[in-house]
């Protein structure tokens, strides 16, 4: 499969000015990041606050340009000024705060904002908006004011706004951090559907471990570097290492891990409740036989 996003030796420094001293301080947000994302996959990037995961996300959308190394989106170097809008069309971005990324005063106008910027003819904007809103299940809310929607609904509108631009991949920077559990579930379902049905490449940045279980590949970041990578199963099998990185594993994984440590015969990195039940069920039958 061709790769859609490729980073080689990516680094980003910024200059911080403090109140006390006149001297500017150079801070390294991310360094030496190598990343390859194949088309149509679901990638998750994990990390606690300040690990550099948002900085990495902003590079994919060319909101930030690397200070060292290179980032390619669909073969385009993001540092090239003349291709800036092409990169941003190919890699859409959804942010954390749903209120601060909705521009329109009516839902459908907001979804149309991206296509308007791309210079799409009016008639096509309407079909794109209809299409995007139905993909996120918000078609019935098209004439509403975004202020009357719930957090999860707002975030789905924001996703529709990106989908309407027909991107190759969508980067979601902690899209569920400000939502309640219901909103979180809505958003994750929409993201999964877009990935599986529409084949959109998804890069989900999060610190909720439960959301990572659906990913094809997980990157774990700490102090501006990628410190672990692999399938969710491989990552969650290393529960101790995750704890060192101030990340927790999903509850069910944690339970399976503790059971295994206590001597139970379980596989590594159990991800879902069903999986744990399946792994435990034969044993309970065995016990039933004995009784």
């Amino acid at each position: 499969m061709p790769s859609i996003i490729k980073a080689r030796g990516l680094g980003f420094d910024y200059v911080k000015y403090t109140d006390e001293s006149e001297n500017a301080e150079r801070v390294t947000a991310i360094r030496e990041i190598d990343l390859t994302v194949e088309k149509g996959t679901f990638i998750a990037i994990l990390g606690h606050n300040g690990s550099g995961k948002s900085t990495l996300a902003k590079h994919i959308n060319a909101l930030l340009v690397p200070t060292s190394g290179t980032m390619w989106v669909d073969g385009i170097d993001t540092a090239k000024e003349q291709d800036l809008w092409k990169v941003r069309q190919k890699a859409g971005m959804v942010f954390q705060n749903p209120d601060n990324q909705i521009i329109g005063t009516v839902v459908d106008e907001d979804v149309g904002f991206g296509p308007e910027n791309l210079g799409i003819p009016t008639k096509d904007i309407w079909s794109r908006v209809d299409d995007a809103l139905s993909k996120v299940g918000m078609l019935g809310f098209r004439d509403r004011s975004p202020n009357h929607l719930s957090g999860g609904q707002k975030q789905r509108v924001a996703i529709a706004g990106v989908v309407a631009m027909h991107p190759e991949c969508i980067v979601l920077d902690e899209p569920t951090a400000m939502l309640d559990p219901n909103g979180r579930r809505e958003v994750i379902e929409v993201i999964r559907e877009l990935n599986q049905r529409e084949g959109v490449t998804v890069i989900l940045i999060t610190h909720y471990m439960e959301e990572v279980t659906y990913a094809d590949h997980v990157y774990v970041m700490d102090a501006g570097q990628v410190v672990m990578e692999g399938t969710p199963r491989e990552i969650f099998a290393q529960a101790e290492r995750l704890k060192e990185l101030r990340l927790s594993v999903p509850q069910v994984t944690e339970l399976a891990y503790e059971l295994k440590k206590a001597g139970a015969d379980l596989p590594d990195g159990v991800l879902t409740i069903d999986e744990l039940v399946d792994a435990l069920a034969p044993r309970s039958e065995q016990y039933a036989d004995r009784a």
């Binding site: 859409g92 705060n97 521009i103 005063t105 296509p115 904007i125 004011s145």
Partner: protein
Amino acid sequence: MGEISLGQYYPTNSILHRLDPRVKFIGTIVYIVSLFLVSGPVGYLCAALALFALVLLSKVPFRFILKSMKPIFFILIVTMLFNLFLTPGEELAHFLIFRITREGLVLALRMGIRLALLVMGSSIMTLTTTPNALTDGMERLFSPLKLIKVPVHEISMMMSIALRFIPILTEETDKIKKAQIARGADFDSGGLIKRLKSMIPLLVPLFVSAFRRANDLAMAMEARCYHGGTGRTQMKPLTYAKKDYCAYLITALFLALAIIFRVKGW
């Protein structure tokens, strides 16, 4: 705290609501100009009748139109009093140092009628047009100003973003206020100075948050390829329909009538 109503839009479905905002804007300007063109009783009667007809067409209850008078009521009275007492001419009555002249009386009445009709007339526009449609209409009407480097698109974008964020910031103000009250802040007692001072713990966090939001929004807009008005298409472009041309025609006739009245002095 819920949604505060902006401007004073009255949602209903009338022919005036469906008119293109540009027509309504130009119509309002023409109406105001004609109020200052006519000077006789017949002219004002016609203007008042036209206003009455518009109110009926708009399906907006009359009390909403009257409500728009409230903020300018004081100015109206003061203007009328000044005109009444300070115009020199043929004396009708006087007490102490105040003199009422015939000219003063006429001028005061004329000023009062003009101002009242002006405010009610323009309130019909704001009552039947959403702030957003008005912004759109103004962007299109003023687009020729781009030639002399007036950032018309940017101004209208700023206006519509402001409209979107007013309810959010109102809600936030409420939240901060409650948070500060919980921490012992007192917003409701003391003199004017003390009350103004007590606003500081409210305004500082509000401004900090507004700047943060502005930063976030700017980034979100850039991420969605916003790069100003050039090369941008519109999802809901304004297009004139037949009724809009009819409305323009009526507006033109009204203006012509006002000019005739002016010439004849009716």
